[in-house]
């Protein structure tokens, strides 16, 4: 236990040695991870945009104006029990009121109240995530058309195509890019940390010569490497958060209305976690062949 505590202490103390070298190493790790973080933030927001597009498929359902309103209300209840995102309904009166509101002043709703030309309608949002989106959209359309009294169901097939394209972008580009970015960041960070640890090869050699076991030699180095990875990761997250705060609303204007979201907790934890592992591995490799 005493030895373990001493080895941990040595690992932390090692970071205080050769401060300029440690500073440059930490800066390289933090900025490399920061660059990777920007890339990750960009991809994450693209994916979020893709998802929201998929969720926005809308069906507009129009009922025959002669069909009894009581029956239509029953159908609305039934539709709302289906697996849909949301539903907004309009009786002919509500539709007229809404129309009058949207063209304020140019339409006298009261004059049309006795002879309202608008049918009962429903605006249904339907989530189309996953496979076979076009088929599922058609299926939903025919299901709605089969309801008694429904006169017309409209939706935009292009929107389905767009959603499908986003799905392809997500699965075909997002993850391979994340993987590539991880590999590049891992290589740069690992090499930087490895070079930093290699300057201590002479010390490692001497420790081996005076009878230190492999674990005695490697443990403090692994602790230093892991700490450098962890601190570098946390610093990069701090920089990324500052950047996010500065750019959060930069795309929040018409017609985009895109608010840049920060990374979710799993990603936030993964960045220092992965860097800690890379630090451990590179420290292990840096001195492993010097132990004889």
């Amino acid at each position: 236990m005493r030895i373990l505590a001493r080895l941990l202490y040595l690992g932390v103390i090692n970071l205080g040695r050769n401060r300029w070298a440690q500073f440059f190493t930490l800066s390289t790790v933090a900025f490399t991870a920061f660059m990777a973080g920007i890339f990750l933030l960009l991809l994450y927001n693209v994916q979020q945009a893709a998802r929201s597009t998929q969720e926005d498929i809308q069906f507009q359902v129009y009922w025959d104006p002669a069909y009894p309103m009581e029956e239509i209300r029953e159908q609305w209840k039934e539709i709302s029990s289906w697996d849909i995102g949301s539903m907004e309904t309009f009786t002919p009166e509500e539709a007229l009121e809404d129309l009058a509101g949207s063209i304020a002043g140019d339409l006298d709703a009261d004059s049309l109240a006795g002879d309202n030309p608008l049918p009962a309608t429903a605006l249904i949002e339907f989530s189309l995530q996953g496979q076979d989106t076009q088929d599922r959209a058609l299926l939903m359309r025919s299901r709605l058309m089969e309801l008694p009294g429904v006169q017309r169901v409209s939706y935009n097939p292009l929107q389905v195509d767009l959603a499908r394209t986003w799905v392809r972008v997500s699965s075909g580009i997002f993850w391979p890019l994340i993987g590539l970015m991880l590999v590049i960041t891992g290589l740069v960070v690992a090499n930087t940390l490895k070079l930093n640890q290699m300057q201590r090869r002479e010390e490692v050699e001497i420790l081996a010569l005076v009878g230190a076991s492999s674990s005695y030699i490697q443990f403090p180095l692994l602790v230093s490497g892991a700490l450098q990875g962890l601190v570098g990761g946390v610093l990069s997250l701090g920089l990324l958060r500052l950047l996010h705060l500065a750019l959060e609303d930069v795309l929040y204007f018409p017609p985009l209305w895109l608010k840049i979201e920060f990374l979710p907790l799993s990603y936030i934890l993964a960045i220092p976690g992965v860097l800690t592992l890379v630090g451990l591995l590179s420290s292990f490799l840096a001195v492993n062949n010097r132990l004889r």
């Binding site: 001497i206 081996a208 010569l209 005076v210 009878g211 492999s214």
Partner: protein
């Protein structure tokens, strides 16, 4: 304590050691001598486990070097200490820290470390330099730090590769006295040197002369006996 039979070692096509055999008992003193490139350092490194036994057999302090796994090498080095010609000390650490290092890696409690380091530094006249960084002291003092670090563990076998190479005559003889004291107290000592005066200073010691990697008869007629 040391058994070497038909030991050969090559670096590529160059044979640095050719068919070397000798044996030493507990408390023996062996001078390893010969011109530069004779194979003295290679033999030292094989005996310390830094180089593998390629051909032949070698055992030291109860460790069979041919079959000693790399993971257990540290156990050998807790019994067999070595002093290198180029010191191999940590220049940015103090004299005290360098000498205490072998005891700390064994997990010895600090009060004992303190006691032993102080005694060894005093015997090698380094006590006044204990707080100096090793890069701040002279070459001769650095050499003595390397010796202090080796002897502080009371090793069963002490290997010393040209330990007086950087010292003047007076310091060389003083250092030789330190080695002799360990030899008297039962430590087996193998000392590589060119210095005939040192060899003649210990008449009872064994001598192994090397030339081009082979054991040869000593040409300068020392008064010691062959190994």
């Amino acid at each position: 304590m040391i058994q070497v039979k038909h030991l050969s070692h090559s670096f590529g096509r160059y044979w640095a050691l050719k068919n070397i055999s000798f044996s030493l008992d507990k408390g023996d003193f062996l001078f390893l001598t010969g011109p530069s490139g004779a194979g003295k350092t290679t033999l030292m490194r094989v005996l310390h486990g830094s180089l593998a036994v390629q051909r032949g057999v070698a055992s030291i302090a109860g460790f069979d070097l041919k079959n000693l796994p790399e993971k257990r090498l540290y156990l050998l080095r807790r019994e067999v200490a070595i002093v290198f010609q180029d010191f191999k000390i940590l220049p940015d650490q103090s004299v005290w820290d360098n000498v205490a290092l072998p005891l700390q890696v064994r997990g010895m409690v600090s009060s004992q470390v303190h006691k032993r380091v102080r005694a060894v530094l005093r015997s090698l006249r380094l006590d006044s330099k204990s707080r100096y960084l090793c890069r701040e002291i002279s070459g001769g003092e650095q050499q003595r730090v390397a010796v202090a670090r080796a002897v502080v563990i009371n090793p069963k076998v002490l290997l010393a590769d040209e330990p007086t190479g950087n010292l003047d005559r007076k310091l060389s003889l003083q250092l030789m006295e330190v080695f002799r004291q360990f030899h008297v107290h039962g430590t087996t000592v193998v000392l590589a040197t060119h210095n005939e005066e040192l060899i003649r200073s210990l008449p009872g010691a064994k001598i192994l002369c090397l030339k081009d990697g082979s054991a040869v008869e000593c040409s300068w007629g020392p008064e010691g006996e062959g190994a």
